[in-house]
């Protein structure tokens, strides 16, 4: 109930601004979606659901026939995971920067300046914090100015927030716990499932990693608890 109320509050603050749904119902209910023409920051530690939320937003965007761009600073994008959550890979432009954050920044700038993308994601999630911190405020301002008054959503994924005042929406992701199935819980479904790799051997004592329970807190424009969901697809 509180989350819904906060969501209304947020919608009021961004009145007149178009938003794109993230594809995660709980997050959409709480924050309305990702604002177009703005820089959105998504940050958190490893296994906190950042990539899940990012891919969900990309899946939503590509399902509406938009073209998405992913600037992958650390070459961490897994096409199979993306396809599994519904990202249409043929509508995705993937720029692999091989660990060079400076290239990532320049590539994001080129893409935003080029225009026409529904969603541009700059993935700095595996970039060391020290390196990401070196990105000057001028660069963030430049990105913010470039995306302003365009229908593009600029999403930056990182470990810590760096864009400060340039970000219109900041979401902090936290992991609550990993969800493991009890021993033998899902063996039946796996054995009969069509997607099981042909040569996989399933041992009877095993259990499965079912998902990660994560929490998304809105830190900006007004700090608030936003949503809790399980990154499982």
């Amino acid at each position: 109930m509180a989350a819904v109320a906060l969501g209304r509050d947020f919608e009021f603050k961004v009145a007149g601004q178009e938003v794109c749904p993230t594809g995660v119902a709980q997050v959409d209910a709480a924050v309305g979606g990702l604002p177009q023409g703005c820089l959105t920051e998504l940050y958190g530690p490893a296994s906190s659901g950042r990539t899940s939320l990012m891919l969900a937003a990309m899946a939503q965007s590509t399902s509406r026939e938009n073209v998405c761009a992913l600037v992958d600073a650390s070459d961490a994008f897994d096409p199979a995971s993306a396809a599994a959550v519904g990202v249409r890979l043929e509508r995705l432009l993937w720029v692999r920067c091989g660990g060079n954050a400076e290239h990532a920044l320049k590539a994001a700038d080129l893409l935003v300046q080029g225009g026409g993308f529904g969603l541009v994601v700059m993935d700095l999630a595996d970039t060391p914090v020290i390196t990401a911190r070196r990105i000057s405020m001028t660069s963030w301002f430049r990105l913010r100015r470039a995306v302003e008054h365009t229908p593009t959503v600029l999403l930056v994924v990182e470990q810590q927030p760096h864009a400060k005042t340039c970000a219109s929406l900041t979401l902090e992701m936290r992991r609550e716990r990993a969800v493991w199935s009890a021993a033998g819980d899902e063996l039946h479904s796996l054995k009969s499932g069509a997607g099981c790799p042909a040569q996989a051997a399933i041992l009877p004592h095993n259990r499965l990693l079912r998902g990660i329970r994560v929490h998304a807190d809105r830190r900006k424009p007004v700090p608030a608890i936003a949503a809790s969901f399980e990154s499982r697809w």
Partner: protein, 417 residues
């Protein structure tokens, strides 16, 4: 109104190009003569005298020794151009008077007819034009009548335009070898402008540019640019060539440049209020070229899943070329993986068949939860088989990883996020 240009033999190609600069309706009447429909040129160049002067000036600029003529009918213009040196303008109605002094050989009679006319003492246009039509028809037949008509400057033959082969190529031989890209870009800009003008005059665009550079060391450097949609933007072409040559510079100074464009029908697109936004193809092509120059050719594109169960198998395709393909096992995937490329070598301690401690670069901790092993293998029928045991592990710091053991060695494959 028709114009004709006559040049020294051997320059027929240049002559045709010159005429096509003025009109799309051009007839090559002989190897050394072209005629063109000059209607409408007065709106660009002014009086017929001025049109003829422009024709002659352009011919000189192209290194042609040519004479030009303008007349109300095609044959008169051709005969005047072939018969008179310099620039001639034949006024309408005075054709017979002006052409009178020309030799009959210009009409191209058959040898028998030439002999007959010579025996009669007919050597010039005016002599033939003065003969009575009826008597000429009785003695020389229809061919005689045709020559009579031409000699009077009363020809009414329509222009039979040459169908220009759609081959758009420009070339320039440089006076001295160019070492730097910047001066080469100036040369390319000039060639591109020429190509663009020719394409535009045919209502065409191009979807492929082929550049060939002859090098000082007698080698050749060739580059091909393909565009997803037909384009006709010289600035974009120049920038794309600049970026491409910046990434693949010629190994030696350039002495000659060829630039060829593949003609294509221009893109016709209608936008709508409810059509989702997409990058403009021309802009996107430039952006892609800049990105490739920044991060490398193979690092920009769309991923395409391959038809295999091999973990992490995909191919990078040029954006727009990737096929929609879903792998059968994607439905069974439940977790979102952040890949670690290349997989990081790890040391894993096992107890009771379960991993209890993992140590790798940036990944270290006690295993607090695990699932596995998931044994997968494939491609054993090829030269590149794979077989591995995968584990999903949760570390003491809360992060979740996928690790695997292949041929006795452990690796961290990625992080669940």
């Amino acid at each position: 109104m028709f114009a004709a240009i006559h040049a020294t033999p051997g320059d027929s190609e240049k002559l045709l190009r010159l005429a096509q600069e003025f009109s799309p309706l051009v007839e090559q009447t002989a190897a050394d003569t072209v005629a063109l429909d000059a209607d409408g040129l007065e709106r660009i160049h002014g009086l017929p005298q001025q049109i003829a002067a422009v024709l002659a000036r352009r011919a000189v600029e192209r290194g042609l020794q040519a004479s030009a003529a303008i007349a109300a009918n095609l044959d008169t213009a051709v005969h005047a151009a072939r018969g008179f040196a310099g620039v001639s303008v034949i006024p309408y109605g005075d054709e017979a008077k002006y052409l009178g002094s020309l030799p009959l050989t210009l009409l191209g009679p058959t040898p028998e007819m030439q002999e007959t006319l010579e025996r009669w003492g007919i050597r010039r246009f005016r002599d033939l034009a003065a003969l009575p039509e009826l008597g000429l028809a009785e003695r020389l037949g229809p061919e005689g009548l045709r020559l009579h008509k031409l000699a009077r400057g009363a020809g009414d033959r329509p222009l039979a335009p040459v169908r220009e082969p759609l081959h758009f190529e420009e070339e320039v031989e440089l006076e001295y070898p160019l070492e730097l890209l910047e001066p080469l870009m100036f040369v390319l800009a000039q060639l591109l402008n020429g190509l663009r003008a020719r394409l535009a005059s045919h209502g065409l665009a191009t979807n492929e540019l082929r550049l060939r550079l002859q090098l000082e060391n007698r080698g050749e450097h060739a580059r091909t640019l393909r565009f997803p949609v037909p384009m006709l933007d010289t600035k974009a072409f120049l920038k794309l060539l600049d970026l491409d040559l910046g990434a693949h510079p010629p190994p030696s100074p350039v002495v000659k440049v060829w630039l060829e464009a593949e003609p294509a029908k221009p893109r016709a697109a209608q936008t709508g209020l409810f059509i989702p936004i997409a990058p403009e193809p021309e802009k996107l092509e430039l952006t892609l070229a800049r990105l490739k120059a920044l991060v490398g050719e193979g690092s920009v594109g769309s991923p395409e899943l391959l038809d295999t169960h091999r973990p992490g198998a995909f191919a990078m395709r040029r954006y727009g070329d990737a096929e929609t393909r879903r792998r059968g096992d994607t439905a069974a995937r439940r977790q979102i993986l952040r890949a670690i490329r290349p997989a990081r070598a790890a040391r894993v301690q096992m107890a009771s068949g379960q991993p209890v401690h993992v140590h790798a670069d940036g990944v270290r901790g006690h295993v607090v939860g695990s699932a596995g092993p998931w044994r997968t293998s494939g491609d054993w029928w090829t030269h590149d088989p794979w077989a591995r045991d995968e584990w999903d592990i949760g570390l003491s710091d809360g992060a979740l990883y996928r690790i695997y053991c292949e041929q006795g060695r452990w690796f961290v494959d990625g992080c669940y996020d």
